[in-house]
């Protein structure tokens, strides 16, 4: 890192001096008459700053990634290249200052480049995540039969080898818990949203909306504790035991219910925004034809908002699928394939954690399976998110 100090100082110095030099020079070529210039002096200055700073900084970033990959260290050649880039940009942009130079266009191109760079990083990170998972997943499938992974109905890892690593019981647990969570969260959240946006007065709204949104700020581990010490025993004592459905406090129902509570603000807050975005003129049209408030809501407002509401529900679903803490504490960690909602079960995410914690040997299928599980989950939630985004976007185009 020592080697970076000098080039950074050079870049900084050139940038600052370039700013003032460019301003002066622009005025100079115009003979003091600013109106002769095609671009303003400050635009020339901005162009010089960007041209001096961006190429060497980009080079530094590229070199450091390259160094990481090859495990090499900084060399004097690298320092020289960076300084040369800075000086070239500095000199070229200063020499280029003429009356006719369109510095504004150039500066905007540099800025466009910066923006593209930022979005590329976001995309590359996602791609990087997928690739790192893919790599380990390949390793896994080299040691373990993929048919067994996807179609076996039993999950019993055994660290001495000879494990059963079927994803089906885990996927079943994930889907079962998520479905229960959504079955709680969607009606409650949606009705709350309809009340807040259509019926509540502004005072009620200003209190109730933040109150509901507080639910979204509670850490999931706290929800998990709530499931463990309150909801689980309650469901066992009042529902499961009397009905003869089991003696377990950890159950799909416990986790699903608590996860549902966690999702309510997601659904209600997003739906509320979407319902509010339905233009008032639409409601007036319906009232003007003699429709009642509930007819208007059911037949005009909700249909108009429906694509957006579906998007909100799908986003909530991908949250539910990725949730871990509530499941560990609410539903337990035993993989099981059962229909009984009062039985302990577990999900994909919980098993990913348990396969990777403790004594791990990163070459055994028992560990590597975590990556295959993660990738499967990633594909599922990605699919859901893309679908949700697609629907939300379609909805945005509907008015005007």
């Amino acid at each position: 890192m020592q080697s970076l100090t000098l080039p950074l100082l050079v870049i900084l110095g050139l940038t600052i001096s370039g700013y003032f030099l460019a301003k002066t020079r622009a005025l100079q070529v115009a003979g003091g008459d600013i109106r002769k210039l095609v671009s303003l002096p400050k635009q020339h200055a901005l162009n010089t700053v960007l041209a001096t700073a961006i190429p060497p900084v980009a080079a530094i970033l590229l070199f450091s990634v390259y160094n990481r990959l090859t495990e090499g260290t900084g060399s004097w050649l690298f320092t020289l290249v960076v300084i040369a880039l800075a000086v070239t940009g500095f000199a070229l942009s200063l020499i280029g200052i003429k009356v006719q130079t369109r510095a504004r266009t150039f500066a905007e191109r540099w800025i466009l480049g910066l923006l593209i760079f930022a979005s590329t990083i976001a995309i590359l990170t996602t791609v990087g995540i997928v690739f790192s998972m893919l790599f380990e997943t390949f390793n896994f499938f080299e040691q373990y039969d993929w048919k067994h992974f996807f179609f076996s109905t039993s999950w019993s890892p055994n660290f001495r080898g000879d494990s059963d690593l079927g994803i089906i019981p885990l996927l079943w647990g994930t889907l079962y818990i998520s479905l229960i969570a959504l079955a709680f969260a969607v009606p409650i959240g949606l009705f709350a949203a309809i009340y807040l946006s259509e019926y509540a007065g502004s005072r009620m709204r200003s209190v109730a909306k933040p109150a509901i949104e507080i639910l979204a700020g509670i850490p999931t581990i706290v929800y998990g504790l709530f499931a463990l010490i309150t909801v689980g025993p309650f469901l066992r004592d009042y529902f499961a035991s009397p009905m003869g459905l089991g003696q377990s406090a950890s159950s799909v129902m416990t986790a699903g219910l608590v996860m549902g509570i966690m999702l309510i603000p997601f659904v209600s807050s997003l739906s509320d925004d979407i319902i509010n975005a339905v233009p008032q003129a639409m409601r007036d049209g319906s009232f003007g034809l003699g429709a009642t408030k509930s007819e208007t809501i059911r037949q005009v407002v909700i249909p108009a908002a429906l694509p957006g509401i579906v998007g909100a529900v799908l986003l909530a679903a991908s949250r539910a699928i990725g949730e871990t803490m509530i499941v560990v504490l609410g539903a337990g960690a035993a993989a099981r394939l059962s229909m009984n909602p009062f039985e302990a079960m577990t999900t994909v995410t919980v098993k990913i954690v348990s396969q990777l914690t403790g004594d791990t040997d990163f070459a055994s299928p028992e560990t590597l399976v975590a990556f295959a599980l993660g990738l499967t989950l990633f594909v599922i939630t990605l699919g859901l998110n893309v679908f949700a985004l697609y629907i939300v976007r379609k909805y945005r185009e509907q008015y005007e």
Partner: protein, 266 residues
């Protein structure tokens, strides 16, 4: 004998009045938008409201079917009688009132539904059609009256929001007449229409007059003169003059009316 004749007259004029507004005041918060307006809207007549922008035409129109109820800050005082009954009486259900007093808004506001469903909306909620064939007939008749049928008959399932502004406005007109109201309030129904569609809508208004009364807000003097029998001129929230259309346009009593129709104010 003399008395008898007198009584006969008053009865007959009373029957003719569909809506009677007395001392109507409207406030938006502190803004006094309508100041002590008295208007009688006759049955089977077209009444035009004219006046410069912001003078309160839309506001007054919305009082007549209580659409102002949906605006929180709006307060209405005075009496408005429909067929002799106070529409602001607590006993009156604004929902039923609006089924009788239909409205076409200043800005087209089709529902994000198909063209067919837009028109069928009112008949469906009021149970006006006994079966699908009935409903189809109402939809077709309304679209024909609104001069839209030929343009949309092949795409009744296309979304109403995907049409041009003028088509949307005619769709809203079709939607309003499909509910078979007794009074139709139209707020600048032709502002987005080309001359041909405008002529068709004016023809429709004339036809509607056979069976019910129409109130139309318009910025076009020619249109007011062409379609209406009565004209009310509003200025800064006051009703300046209300009389037979012929009289307003040929022999206005108030100097403000004269200036407005000859294009000097507004």
């Amino acid at each position: 004998m003399e008395d008898m004749i007198q009584m006969d007259r008053t009865i007959s004029t009373q029957q003719d009045i569909k809506i009677e507004a007395k001392g109507v005041q409207v406030f938006y918060g502190d803004n006094h938008a309508i100041k002590d307006v008295d208007v009688n809207i006759a049955d089977k007549t077209v009444t035009a409201f004219i006046g410069p922008s912001g003078c309160g035409k839309s506001t007054f129109l919305r009082c007549l079917n209580r659409m102002n109820d949906t605006i929180d800050i709006c307060r209405v005082e005075g009496d408005i009688l429909l067929d002799g009954e106070d529409i602001y009486d607590p006993k009156v259900d604004p929902v039923q009132l609006r089924a009788k007093v239909g409205m076409v808004f200043q800005k087209p506001n089709p529902f994000p539904k198909s063209i067919y469903d837009n028109v069928a909306y009112g008949p469906k909620i009021h149970g006006l059609a006994r079966n699908k064939a009935d409903l189809d007939e109402i939809v077709e008749k309304s679209l024909r009256k609104a001069a839209l049928w030929n343009e949309v008959k092949d795409r009744l399932n296309a979304p109403g929001t995907g049409m041009s502004g003028g088509q949307q406005q005619r769709l809203c007109i079709a939607r309003a007449i499909a509910t078979a109201p007794e009074v139709l309030l139209m707020d600048e129904p032709c502002s987005a229409l080309d001359p041909i569609a405008t002529a068709q809508v004016e023809e429709l208004i004339d036809e509607l007059r056979q069976s019910f009364s129409v109130v139309i807000v318009t910025h076009s003097m020619q249109q007011a003169a062409r379609v209406s029998q009565k004209t009310a001129f509003f200025h800064l929230g006051n009703l300046v003059e209300f009389d037979d259309t012929d009289k307003i346009f040929t022999n206005p009593q108030d100097s403000r009316t004269e200036s407005y129709i000859s294009g000097r104010i507004g």
